[in-house]
Each structure stands twice: as C-alpha cells, then as structure tokens.
C-alpha cells in the first residue's frame, strides 16, 4: 500500500508539472500583451518595456516557464497587479469556502445516493426501484443553477427558513452552516441521482457474480452479502467518479456561488476572466488544477485500499 501511495503521488506531481507548463504556455500563446492590459491604452512603450522586464516577459520562454515552476513550488503565484496583493493569498482565502461547499455537497449526495443505489439493486424492477430511477434521472436532468434559484425562492424568500446570500459570518459556525445548506443542496441534488444510478448498475453486476452466489450457498446473511461482499466491489466505479467529480466541482461550483453570492474559487475565476486579470486567472486555475489532481489521487488511493488487485498493479 505504501509503495502504491508513493508511486501514485509521484505520478500526481508529474501531472501537476505538465499541467502548469501547459497552462503557462497557453496563457502566453494567446494574442494580447498582458502589459498593455495592465497599464491601459495610454501607456508609453517605455512603461511597457519596464513592466515586461519586471514580469520577466523579455526572457526566453523556457526560462520563463522554469522560473514560474520554481516560484509555484515555493508557493509564490505572483502578484495581482490590480490590488497589489499576492495571488496566493487571494486564492487561498477563497479556497476554504469552496472546499467546504464542495465536500458538503458531495458528502450528503453520497450518504443518500449510495444507500438508494443499493436499495434499487436489491429490489430491482419493483415499484420502488422504478421510483428511485425516475427521481434519479429527474434530478440529473435539472441543472444545478435552476435548483439553486428555486430553492432560494422557496426556502429563503417565501418560507424564510434559511438565509439567502453570502457564506455567513467568519467564526460563527451555526451561521455558516445555515448559509451552507441551500447551496450544498443545489449542487448535491444532481449527484444523488448520478451516484444512485451508478451504484445500482455496478451493484446489479456484482450481485450476479459467481462469488455472491457462493456466499449465498453458504447461507451468509443478506445484509453481509450486500453491504460488505458486494458493496466493496460495487463502490469502486463510484469512488472514481467522485474523485473527478470533486475535482471538477472546485472550479465549477460557480453557478451556485454566483446565485448565492458566496465567495469561492469558481466565482474568483469568473470575475478575474471578466476583468482580464491574468495573474489571478493563472493562480486560481493552477490551484484548482492541483486540487483536481489531488482529488483523483485520493480517490485512486481509496480504490487501492479497497481492491488489492489495484494496489498491486500500478
């Protein structure tokens, strides 16, 4: 297991380096001079030249990439030229909110979706299985921002049960929790359907396998067969899905963040793209990329923990 972890982390580092190089190249290949954007239309060539030297844009491309990588490794993501604050500081300030939101959303979706999927598989083709299927497809089909808007209207505006916007006062956990419920509901609802469908499908497949028949032939209790012998195998595809899902949500929870006016990485990327704030875009995308790689690394490691064949392969 330790060997697997080391190898997998090594792979993750390689992926991050490649991603960072690609990211840096992409931003610099697209037309448009960052210096002109920062300084505005009335800048003189001398001012631009000065800023170029300050940003290191006059040096060869390879050197630029290498020095960028070095800075990133030390946690230095550059300066935001608009606010004159370090990019890392801005991004990490938003990161907490996003992580809490994403983990809460996926968390409740998992707690509901996995049992629903198991239930559907065990009672396949019954009325309740069809009901769960109908519900799952329904919530997958509805975009999360629609859920966000309607839940905002219903629970915050009409019923006034929960606060409408913001992330709550820092340090006041009850307040933050109340602010978390609606966005987490909006993001997680579709995932409940996804997870239930996926768990049902892989559970059905596993329940048909020979070793489950053998377990039944030995009279093992049904709950042991379903929740231990079958689930440990059936959960593997779901773990992989959640790994990429959590990774993607870090930058794409943006709809819920905008609707509920919460700070977050998604909203930060959106705002900085609109204002052409290149260093901030780079920093935010870079951090979410690293988190994506981290999230898939964790899900792969969980899979390796569950399945001995995986941890012995890589």
């Amino acid at each position: 297991m330790l060997f697997y972890l080391l190898k997998r982390i090594g792979l993750a580092v390689v992926i991050v380096v490649v991603a960072v190089v690609l990211l840096y190249s992409m931003i610099h290949v697209v037309p448009g001079d960052p210096a002109s954007v920062i300084l505005g239309p009335r800048a003189t060539p001398e001012m631009k030249q000065e800023l170029h030297e300050l940003m290191g844009l006059d040096r060869p491309f390879v050197v630029q990439v290498a020095s960028f990588l070095g800075k990133v490794a030390r946690g230095n993501l550059g300066m935001d030229f608009f606010s004159q604050r370090p990019v890392a500081q801005i991004v990490f300030k938003q990161l907490d909110e996003t992580l809490v939101l994403v983990l809460a959303s996926i968390g409740w979706a998992m707690l509901l979706g996995i049992p629903l999927g198991c239930y559907s598989a065990v009672f396949r083709n019954t009325f309740s299985d069809k009901l769960v299927g109908f519900f799952s497809i329904g919530v997958i089909a509805v975009p999360s921002f629609v859920v966000a808007l309607y839940s905002l209207l219903l629970f915050a505006v009409t019923l006034k049960w929960l606060p409408a916007i913001g992330a709550g006062e820092p340090g006041q956990y009850m307040d933050q929790l109340q602010h978390l419920i609606l966005p987490a509901f909006a993001i997680g609802l579709g995932w409940v359907g996804y997870i239930a469908r996926l768990v049902r499908a892989s559970m059905l497949e596993v329940l048909n396998e020979n070793h489950i028949r053998r377990a039944r032939a030995f009279g093992l209790p049904e709950h042991m067969i379903v929740f231990q012998y079958a689930l440990k195998l059936a959960i593997l595809p779901t773990v992989t899905l959640l790994g990429t899902g959590i990774g993607r949500l870090i930058s794409s929870a943006v709809f819920a963040e905008i609707v509920f006016a919460r700070p977050g990485i998604g909203k930060l990327i959106f705002d900085s793209v609109v204002s052409r704030n290149y260093p901030l875009v780079m920093g935010a995308v870079l951090v979410s990329t690293v988190l994506f790689v981290l999230s898939t690394t964790i899900s792969d490691s969980v899979n390796a923990m569950l399945d001995p064949r995986v941890r012995e392969r890589l």
Partner: protein, 322 residues
Amino acid sequence: MAEPVLDIRNLSVNYLTPRGTVKALRRINLQVPSAKVVGLVGESGCGKSTLISAVIRLMAENARVAAGEIRFTGKDMQQLSSRDLRAIRGRDMSMVFQDPMTALNPVFTVGRQMKDIQYRDAVSGKEKLKRASDMLSLVGIPDAVSRLDNYPHHFSGGMRQRITIAMALLVQPKLLIADEPTTALDATLEVQIIRLLKDLQADFQCAILFISHHLNVIAELCDFVGVMYAGELVEKGSVRDIFHRPGHPYTRALLECDPSVIAEPTRFLPTIPGEIPSLIDLPEGCIFHDRCPGAAQVCKNTPPPEVSLAEHHTAACHCLEV
C-alpha cells in the same frame, strides 16, 4: 437403506421465457444416501445445474418448481422460509462451484472469507481462523497460516479450487454439492482434486452429489450414478451397473462416445447422431426416440415406463420391458 440425506421426488422445474415455458426438468426421482457419493452425468444443457440449483434453492428468477418435492434430512425444502433455508445452507449443505477463478470474492482475504462462513459458531475469531488454516493444510495448501492473509488472485486455479473445497468441508455438511468442480482445471489437476475429494469424503463421511460430464471422474469417485438426458433422469444405478450393464440406449451411446475406451486409432470420434429435442415442444413419447437406434412405434407415442433392472438400478425405456 436408511433414510437418504437428499430425497428428490417427481421433481419438475420450468423456466418461463419469452419463447415459451422451457420444461428443464421432468419427473426427477433421485436419492442421495448418507455418506455416499452420487454422480450425475449428462451433456451440457441436460438440466444438471438446474437440478442442483433447485436442491440448494438458489434458482434463476424465471425458474419455477412445477411439481414434486425435495426432502433434505426429512425436511421439505419447498416449505421452508428463506430464514430456515439460510440456516441449512452452509451448515448442513454446502457447495463447490464450477469455476474456481470467480468463486471467491476478489477483495477479501481468504482467511476473512473462511471466517465469515463460520459466522454462526460461537467461538472466537482466532479459533475460526485456526480451523480455516487447519482445513487449508488438509486440502494441501502449504504454509496455510500465512496464506490466510492472501487474496484469491494470489492463488492459482487449482489452489483456488482446493480453497473452495476447504470452505465447503469446513462447515462439516451432511451433503456436499459439487457442480463440475474440475471442468475449469487441466487434466492433472483434475485427477488431484478428485483424489482429494475422495479422501476427504472418506474422512468426513459426508454425502456428495457430484455433477460432471466426465465419465472417468464419475467412475472413479461415485457409488451411484444418475444419467440425465434433456431434463430427464433416464437411468440410475450403482456405478458398477451403469458402467458394466447399462440399460438405457442413451447410457450405452454415451459410454461408447468416451474417447478413452476407443481401442483403434480413428479419424472420427464416435458421436450420438441427431440433436437434443426442444424443451419447449416436447415429443409425446420417449424423449430419446428420434436419436435411438432401437426406437419402435411405441417409443414415438407413449412415454416409457421406469423398468427395474436390478436392486437400485432402473432405466426408462420401452425396450427393456419383458
């Protein structure tokens, strides 16, 4: 004969399919005496596996017992609740499956799986593992204690089949059902596994219902043999009677097809001409009449009676009537 461990009476099983009702088993009568080995032999699709899944009551969803009863140690399996059935499975009755590569759960250690099947016993986990490793040594797995921590994919196919046999015997069943346990293994391993089963059966004194389409294996291992054809038990008797004085034309044809009895080199292996009849539209008379070399008019129209040839030796054929 004392009361048999397993007593199958007049059993018929149907599969409900979109194409119609497949009458997979018809009027099966078979007894497994205690501490004896009964072999079932027949071509693929003759209903051997359907029969054992009916015995252990793990049938496909579309399978229905149309008639008859299965009595296991005096209890009517049909009448038992699923809770009572579960109490029987893995305690009084256990099973070795056909394919050892898929019969063990790949994500649990062998030790854990062997421990779990003893979940009813009120002894410590340590004691259960001790029993498991003892049983593994008995089936010929070297270094059994440390191998309890291994996963199934660390073992070869032959080893895995030994493990499943160890599991089946660990619960000390009254009846062990073996569903073609050597089909997925090569010939040398097959011999080893059969010898192992034979030795262990002598030690444990359990009854075995052994399914195979290998005549040699049946001859080596079994006390009694049932010959199945297209869902019917056409002949049954002691292993001596079946192999030396076969009564039913199908049994005779089957024995002639055994490659190991062919004396002269030949270009063509002997076969039984014709095809198995459709189990949806059954012929009126004898199930074997259109492939039988000695078929008469009566075979076409009337189902054959069960003719007693010797003690415990019967065959269903018109031609055997005196």
